[in-house]
């Protein structure tokens, strides 16, 4: 192999990145758009005092799990959130939530239509599937470098990195859910003369709802797993606390912030999971 010499792959990528950097205006508008979403969510969280936030979360849990056992979980929620408040991580926690929710929101808005397209067109599936593999397995640091170049430092590149890493499950599960709708139901819908749009809205999406929701759940969890990495490029939140603790070699502080991440993760997970348990 030595006789051929290394392919200048790195150079190609660099020149590609250089070429892209001429579209500053385009990247600036994307940044502004993402920033607006992030600011809006953060604004809502900042508006609520801590105690009211906890009550809202508990009430929401009570409503969403109205058919299920929920007392134990609600006690866990109350204690967990009080602990975060007590440890002084409240603002970090809401910033982390903002990061996760905005990246999940973007991932869902892009991911579900993409999944639908994949399910309807086998050609699209062939093209999109390897891209999804790429998004999930490419080490995050690799695209953080150009992300900073295009979107600067802060929440926006953090959200973007989370979207790239966390979107695939939503796309895959949407595709899977729609493809799993039994053939005879599709035939029935066709035999009564439904349009593809009527079939999608009236049959395929409702039937795929649970599968799609478990994809969304995974997307959120993956988004949460990105908070520490995102903090390296300036995304604020619990990740920043962990990152600082690592830098200071402070195991205790790192653990405390880590626990807060876990609490947020469990709350988000249980709430999104109960979306797909409500039958009929």
């Amino acid at each position: 192999m030595g006789s051929i010499g290394a392919l200048p792959l790195a150079d190609w990528v660099n020149s590609g990145v250089d070429w892209l950097s001429q579209f500053t205006g385009f990247f600036n508008s994307i940044t502004a758009f993402f920033q607006a979403i992030i600011d809006a969510i953060q604004w809502v969280f900042d508006l609520l005092p801590e105690w009211l936030f906890i009550i809202v979360i508990l009430a929401f849990t009570y409503w969403i799990k109205r058919d299920q056992k929920k007392l134990g979980f609600m006690i866990f929620e109350a204690l967990g959130l009080l602990l975060i408040w007590n440890l002084g991580f409240w603002r970090d926690m809401t910033q982390t939530l903002t990061l996760v929710l905005s990246s999940s929101l973007i991932a869902i808005v892009i991911g579900i239509p993409l999944g639908i397209w994949m399910a309807k067109s086998s050609k699209a599936e062939v093209v999109i599937k390897p891209i999804l593999d790429f998004m999930q397995t490419l080490p995050a640091f690799v695209y953080l470098i150009p992300a900073v170049a295009f979107f600067g430092i802060g929440m926006v590149p953090g959200v973007l990195a989370s979207v790239i890493f966390a979107m695939p499950p939503t796309v895959r599960m949407t595709n899977l859910g729609i493809r799993q709708v039994p053939e005879d139901l599709i035939e029935a819908a066709d035999s009564f003369g439904s349009t593809s749009w009527q079939k999608l809205i009236g049959l395929q999406l409702p039937m795929a709802k649970n599968t799609i929701m478990s994809g969304v759940n995974q997307t959120m969890m993956l988004g949460l797993s990105m908070v520490v990495i995102a903090s390296m490029i300036g995304a604020l939140g619990l990740g920043t606390q962990v990152y600082f603790a690592v830098g200071r070699n402070d195991a205790g502080a790192g653990f405390a912030a880590g626990i807060a991440v876990v609490i947020v993760a469990i709350i988000l997970d249980r709430i999104t999971q109960s979306f797909n348990k409500t039958s009929h």
Binding site: P182, D184, A188, F192, G193, P206
Partner: protein, 397 residues
């Protein structure tokens, strides 16, 4: 009778090398050969038939015979390789996507083997489905859906979900969904095959009841011959994509077109289908207005029989005479047959099913006579003929 559905030269080949397979098919090669040479499966081979308005038309065959493919080509869930289906003169295979949807929405309802109810919708919403697609206003939707549910005997289950119902009830919903639409044509794809025998019989009776009221054009797919004989106005028998025979139930039982159909109808419960007229034999008759005792006796001797049936000028049954009594009459010098006629003969109408007669026939020593509504003598039923008919032998000796 108006032609509702006309199937012309309808052919379906599944596989990749369709042009070659088509060529082989036109050369008269059979399914196996074509499969071996091209890897293509012939689903339906040049089917031709018409279905009349208001007819309950049954397509029969074992699995793989192409019956499900045919029914799916009628509403073009499957495109044909060749040939066309005309519904009210409209060529289905030529329709645009939009026209096809319109046809399906307005004219055709379909009922599926495994019900294919939408599990996320209530019974009422399921029944409303076709109307909702047509964007009919919601009060009409509900009214028509409820009428249809009423018709299939599903009152008060509106708000249940399909998985809360038994199989038989689920298929009632399936039927209601097709009926609510006011479709003129019902396609029923093995609609009752997945049901328990008891539910199945109930559903068959229900379908016949509904048909009596609504006079839809129904195309019913099945593999149970007893079901086909019970339901069908006409039956089409398929094998390996070919049509073996089309005919009325009795015709198929009494005149199977070939060995395959004959084997197919073996073991069927004939008593339900065969009527008195299909097992009766010709009676030896004399006209009382024209013939006296001597003629009667001669006729009996010539035909080697011991009694003879007597009718009047209009071929109405008057009685029957015994050879013994007639010869006594001749010795007495009387010329009037009437005095020795016996009239207490068991009598039945021509369209009575044998099932209803079989008990009495086996108990009565003298043959039943078969008459039409106006009492005209049609024939007589001999015990042996009944047994022969049930066992599937040729009757009209």
């Amino acid at each position: 009778m108006t032609e509702k559905v006309k199937v012309t030269n309808l052919t379906k080949i599944f596989g990749k090398q369709i042009p070659q397979a088509k060529k082989l098919l036109s050369e008269g090669k059979d399914k196996k050969e074509i499969l071996a040479q091209t890897g293509c499966t012939v689903g339906v081979n040049q089917a031709n038939f018409t279905i009349n308005e208001g007819e309950l038309f049954v397509i029969m065959g074992l699995s793989g015979s192409g019956k499900s493919t045919i029914i799916r080509m009628i509403n073009r869930l499957i495109n044909s390789t060749d040939g066309d289906v005309e519904i009210d003169g409209q060529k289905v295979m030529q329709l645009s996507k939009e026209e096809l949807r319109k046809l399906r929405q307005d004219k055709i309802g379909m009922v599926f083997q495994n019900f294919a109810l939408f599990p996320h919708l209530t019974v009422l919403q399921n029944a409303e489905y076709g109307l909702a697609l047509k964007k009919v206003d919601s009060s009409t939707q509900e009214k028509k859906a409820k009428e249809a549910l009423d018709l299939v005997g599903l009152n008060g289950y509106d708000q249940q979900y399909p998985d809360q119902l038994s199989g038989g009830m689920q298929q009632r919903v399936g039927l209601a969904r097709a009926l609510a639409n006011d479709a003129e044509i019902l396609l029923m794809d093995e609609a009752f095959s997945a049901l328990d025998p008891l539910y199945r019989k109930e559903m068959q009776d229900l379908l016949l009841q509904i048909q009596e009221k609504m006079h839809k054009t129904i195309i019913f797919i099945g593999h149970d011959l007893n079901e086909a004989l019970k339901l069908g106005d006409r039956i089409l028998i398929m094998r390996d994509g070919n049509i073996e025979q089309i005919g009325e139930p009795e015709e198929i039982l009494t005149h199977p077109a070939n060995d395959y159909v004959e084997r197919f109808i073996e073991g069927v419960d004939r008593t339900r289908v065969l009527t008195a007229s299909s097992v009766m034999t010709k009676a030896h008759v004399i006209n009382i207005a024209k013939a006296g005792p001597r003629v009667a006796l001669r006729r009996m001797r010539d035909n080697d029989i011991s009694s003879i049936y007597v009718v009047d000028n209009e071929n109405k049954f008057v009685g029957f005479a015994d050879a013994h009594d007639v010869s006594d009459l001749i010795k007495q010098g009387s010329k009037d047959l009437r005095s020795v006629l016996k009239t207490d003969v068991p009598k039945t109408l021509a369209d009575t099913p044998i099932n209803d007669l079989i008990n009495d026939i086996s108990k009565t020593p003298i043959p039943y006579i078969v008459v039409d509504e106006e009492d005209h003598l049609q024939g007589i039923i001999l015990r042996g003929a009944v047994l022969a008919a049930i066992s599937g032998e040729e009757v009209n000796a």
